[in-house]
Structures are given as structure tokens and as C-alpha cells.
Amino acid sequence: MSEQQQRRDGKFGDYGGQYVPEALMPAIEELTDAYERYVLGNEDGFMDEFRRRIRDFGGRPTPMGRADQLSERYGTEVYLKREDLLHGGAHKLNNALGQCLLAKYMGKERIVAETGAGQHGTATAMAAAHLDMPCEIYMGRRDINRQRPNVFRMRINGAEVTPVEVGRGTLKEAINETMRDWATTVETTHYIIGSIVGPHPFPSMVRDFHRPISAETKRQSREAFGRLPDAVVACAGGGSNTMGIFSEFVDPRDSDPEGVDDVDLYAVEAGGSTLDVDEERGVAPNSASLSTGTEGVLHGARTKVLQDTDGQIMESHSVSSGLDYAGVGPELANLVEEGRVDAVNVDDDAALAAFHRLSQTEGIIPALETAHAVAYLEQHDDPSELGEYVVINVSGRGDKDLAAAMEETAGRDLPNAPEMDVFDGEGLR
């Protein structure tokens, strides 16, 4: 399928598409048009402004540096691409800023977004404040009460945070509620989706806003070791940091496409506590939709989904809330199907151990999501087989995860967990 076609109908092989209520279709068409004109066509210098702002406000390019201790441990040169240094502490801002700016170019007056753990919500709140746009974030009640610092941040940035009281009060209820808001306000409002999921043009557009990760990685690899890496490893929830760092290796648009096909790409999913599924209760104790999901339609796109045999979406689980999602981006699903990307997974314990390992040996506290990517090297029988140069995408920092990581660590038997007895009695939060 030619790229041009891909742009038009948003299909990636059998995946993708636009499964949304008719009321939203005109907005989706308008957005598709805006995506093609502004993002792909740089109309009115949109991409120039985006690049300027993501540099001056966001902090691009983010650095890529050698992990001295990990390189020694694994007998291969390990480099870290530092999206944790982007403003807000994760890759998320690339997309939030891009879409917020696009909404402005489209003449929209208001932003809505869903958030689970709060990462996408905080990035959106920052971008909206930066561009002087009113913004409302939907967040499940349970998540609000679990993720107070992120709610603080959104409120402090001036965003409305609207609790979603129905159901379990987590991400999927928030997505449903945001869709509802959008279906009501679509004429004046833009919905900023938080990953490469949802109906076309979201998966392509979100990927393109994250594309600089990949372009920089190529350039920085050539600067650091004179060639492209042998392998690139990224965690995958929805898959935006993943496609962000993969895209120029999969579909090069920069001036330097040579050799990209030789780069192995690994998408590391959350294996949770086990890959087994409780069909009876409709619960997957993992979020490994690429590894264990089946084809289905979720949140506007056909993709790999954790679902029961009827097609009801299952509750997913992961120690990392940002990976805790029952679907995955359609483009990534297709790349796995085509064999271009390897879908692998690591469990909660391995991710927590990697969280502590990277913190202790490299001085970088990663997000628990990122810790999954780091853990993959440890899980590998012989990481040197990955090649001579391996780049890990450090998608975010772990400050948001401190309390969760400590609580989860306390309940497990991890050899490298720090003791916390410096505190006076009180609990960990």
C-alpha cells in the first residue's frame, strides 16, 4: 500500500480506519484535512512553528548518551535516548504541543483530553497553557485519587479536571467521557488523544509529532558511533513513544534513509503478573495486546485488542499505569504482523527491578513504563546478540511513579530494592 493511500484512509494493512460515531466524522474529516495540509504540507509554516516551539518550550533535541554501567553489564554498547528530559518529563509533550498548535491553526477554541495516570493530561495542560487555550481533562475518579500530584499539576497549569465517576473510574471511562464531550462540542473543540490510537488521522498524526525522537536518534547515533544502531528498544502501551523512535527506521522521511532496514526494532509490552487471561472475569493480568491480543475494533480503530471471545474488551493490568491499556496503535500492530517489529514483553517484577537498576547504576530514575524497555535487556539470555549498539528509548522520568514504585517494591522480593528505613515510621506515601 502506498504511503499516499495510507494517508488518505488511515489503514495500516488490515488495521486502522475510522470507527467513530457519525457526529464526529465531519470533525475527523476536517482534522484529516488539517493534518495533511499543516503537518504533511507545512502550510502556513505550521511545522516550522511546531519545531521552534518544541525546541524552545519542549527542549528538543533531547540528548542521547551512553549508559556506562549497563554497557558493561550487558557486553554491548547501550545508549539512552532521553525523552525523560522533555518538558513535563516524558515524550508526551511532542504530541500534546503538536495537536494543541494544530487546533489553534484550525481555529478551535478549546481542548479536551482524557488521561489515565495523568501523563497525557499534564502534557496537554502545559501545552494548552503555553498556547493560551482553555482545556478540560477527563480523568477517572479512582485515578484522580491515586495520582494526586498529576492532578495538582494540571490544575496549577490552569486546566479543568473533570472527574469521571462511572464504572471503575479509570482510563477507559475517561476516554469514553472525552469522546462524549467531543461529540457534543465538536464544532469548537479539539480532542487531543494521548497515543497513536483512535481513528485516522490520530495514529499517523501523533506518530508524526513524535517523529523527531527517531530523526534525532539517527543523527545522534551517527555522531556517537558513526552508524545506525543495531537495535532500538521501546516500551509500548498505546505505542506513541514506540512509533516515535521507530518511525524513521520504518518509513524514513529524513534526508538519510540508508541502512534503516537493518535496524531491529523491539516493542516491549507490559507482561503484568502473567500472560494468562481470566476469560471468565474478563480480566487480563497484563497489557500485552501485541503479544496476546486479537484483532478487534476499539476506540475508533481496528487493531490488536485484549478481548474475550464475544469481543468485550477486557480489563488490562500493569504495574505501570501508562502501559495499562487493552489496545495498541494500529500501525504498530501491523508492523508486528509484517515482522518489521518484534513484540516482546516483560513482567511487573522485571520492570521494577529495571527501575531500580537504571536508577542506581545510571542516575536516571525512569518511568515505570520505560523500565519495561530497560528490563528487556536483562531478560535477554545474551543481550550482546542484540548487536553492538543498542538504543533504549527512555520515554519518561519516574518522579510520577515514586510512591507507586516504592509500594510495589515493598510487596516483592527484589534483590536490588533500596531500604526505606530512613523515614520515621510513617507509611510510604
Partner: protein, 284 residues
């Protein structure tokens, strides 16, 4: 129930008089009670019944119907039970299955809508409304409906522009679901101007498909007003589901809830009919 594998009975339902088209989620809150509720609506004069097959991610529903979906799923509703429910219904009106595409797509061994449509047709479903399936993705389902003589009802939104409108009209059969206003399902107080506008735009396409208006209709007056505005039917969901929800919350005997549903149903049907009588609409 009657129906079965013949042709869809929907077109006939709109022929004689303005139609009353109620919606309930099948199995809300229990299989048995829900059967009684649907049957009560037939007694109230329903011309077509939209029967929700609950999906875990009801992105087009407001909180009222979303909660109905949760109750039904909690009550053990599955696709198989849904078909058993349809089979067990003792009503003689056309039935429209309202659900999300993933459940249709997953049914049967190979992926695709055909097995679901075949089975639904066999159990007595006359047509389908699938809120997350726009015209662009509806080809395979349309084909399956054609193969099994079923109708595919499309939703026309206030934001639907003329090019899309023509496409929806071309795609649809049975009737057009004209969405009265932006937003999601849920009872509202008044009928919006956009309803009138939408109906007019549909009329301009020259289609002879019946037009049923839904989203927010909850009273005699609203049913009357939408028919007066040119609709062929009034679709009512949340106002009825509210009664089910209240009965459940207050732990009322199902017969009591059924009676309430029947009463509101009658009022709505009368509203629809009232508009058709010149005096009534003039009196407005």
C-alpha cells in the same frame, strides 16, 4: 418470537402512521425483567424496538444508557444470551439490534460481520444500528445485511455535511436515525432547531427512507414536536431506561416498572400520533 429469516419487517412499520421507536438495553437489569419491559413497550404501541446488545466501551452513549449497559453486563449478558433473549421475546414488532461493531465483527470463527448477521436474522432481528460504524467502514456489514435481507440503519448527525448525507442515504435501508442534536444519548427538555434543519436537509436528498428522530426525546410534547417537524418516527431511549434504572435502584417489582414503561410508552406514542392529526399540531 415471530420474525425469523424472511425479509425485514421494518419498512412496513413506518407505512401507516408516525412511529414510536423505543430503545432498551437487553438484559437490563436481568434477563427476565428485561423481557417483560420490552413486551410492555410493545403493548404501549411500539412500532419498532431498538434492542441494545451491551458493549463494554459504549462511546456513543450518555451516562444513562452507559449504566444500563453496565447493569446488563453485570447481569451476565453475552452475545449468546442476547440471541436467546431475542428468541425468548414474545412481541410482534420489528427488532433492531443496536450495538458496537466489535461484537458484530468478532462473532463466529472468521472475523467479519457475516456470521453475526446470519445468526441475528435467524433469531428474528430485522436490522442493525451500529453507532461506531461510519459509512466508510460499513461495506462488509451492508453486504451481509443484503445477503440476509436485513436493514442497516444509519445515524445522520447535525454535523453531517451534504456529501456525507448522500452517502449515508445511499447506504441505509429501513429508516434513517436522525440525531436531534450534538452529543450523546440522554433525555433533554426541549427539541432543538437543528432537528428541523436536519430533517429538511434529509428531505432535500429526495430519499423516501423514513426518518426517525432520536436523542433527548422524553415526553408527549417532544414526540409530537419532532413528528410535526417532519419526522416519521420518534426514537426514545434514555427516558425509558431512567424508569428501569429507578425501578432497579428502588428495588421495585418488575411488574411495577413494566407498567410505568407501558404508561410512558403510551404517552409517547400518543404524542407522535397527535402531531399527525391536523388539529393537534395546530393547537400547538
Amino acid at each position: 418470537m415471530s420474525g425469523g429469516t424472511g425479509e425485514s419487517r421494518i419498512p412496513a412499520a413506518f407505512e401507516s402512521e408516525p412511529a414510536f421507536v423505543p430503545y432498551l438495553a437487553a438484559g437490563d437489569p436481568t434477563f427476565e425483567a428485561s423481557l417483560a419491559y420490552v413486551e410492555a413497550l410493545e403493548r404501549a404501541g411500539a412500532d419498532v424496538i431498538e434492542l441494545g446488545l451491551p458493549f463494554s466501551e459504549p462511546i456513543a452513549e450518555g451516562p444513562t444508557i452507559q449504566q444500563a449497559v453496565v447493569r446488563s453486563l453485570d447481569g451476565g449478558m453475552t452475545v449468546e444470551r442476547y440471541f436467546e433473549f431475542v428468541a425468548a421475546l414474545d412481541v410482534d414488532v420489528p427488532l433492531v439490534c443496536m450495538t458496537y461493531y466489535n461484537l458484530i465483527y468478532q462473532y463466529g470463527d472468521e472475523e467479519g460481520p457475516e456470521p453475526f448477521v446470519e445468526r441475528a436474522a435467524a433469531e428474528g432481528i430485522d436490522g442493525f444500528v451500529v453507532p461506531d460504524l461510519p459509512a466508510e467502514e460499513a461495506g462488509p456489514l451492508r453486504a451481509a445485511c443484503d445477503a440476509h435481507g436485513r436493514d442497516l440503519v444509519s445515524i445522520v448527525a447535525p454535523t453531517t455535511r451534504d456529501d456525507r448525507l448522500q452517502r449515508l442515504v445511499d447506504l441505509s435501508s429501513g429508516y434513517l436515525y436522525v440525531q436531534a442534536r450534538l452529543g450523546v444519548t440522554g433525555a433533554r427538555a426541549s427539541v432543538s432547531d437543528r432537528t428541523t434543519e436536519s430533517l429538511a436537509r434529509v428531505a432535500e436528498t429526495g430519499t423516501d427512507l423514513p426518518r426517525a428522530v432520536g436523542f433527548g426525546i422524553s415526553s408527549f410534547e417532544q414526540a409530537r414536536d419532532v413528528i410535526a417537524a417532519g419526522a416519521d418516527g420518534a426514537i426514545v431511549g434514555s427516558a425509558l431506561v431512567d424508569i428501569v434504572a429507578e425501578g432497579h435502584a428502588e428495588d421495585r417489582p418488575p411488574e411495577e416498572t413494566a407498567a410505568e414503561l407501558e404508561a410512558l410508552g403510551r404517552e409517547l406514542k400518543e404524542g407522535a400520533l397527535a402531531a399527525a392529526e391536523p388539529e393537534a399540531s395546530q393547537a400547538d
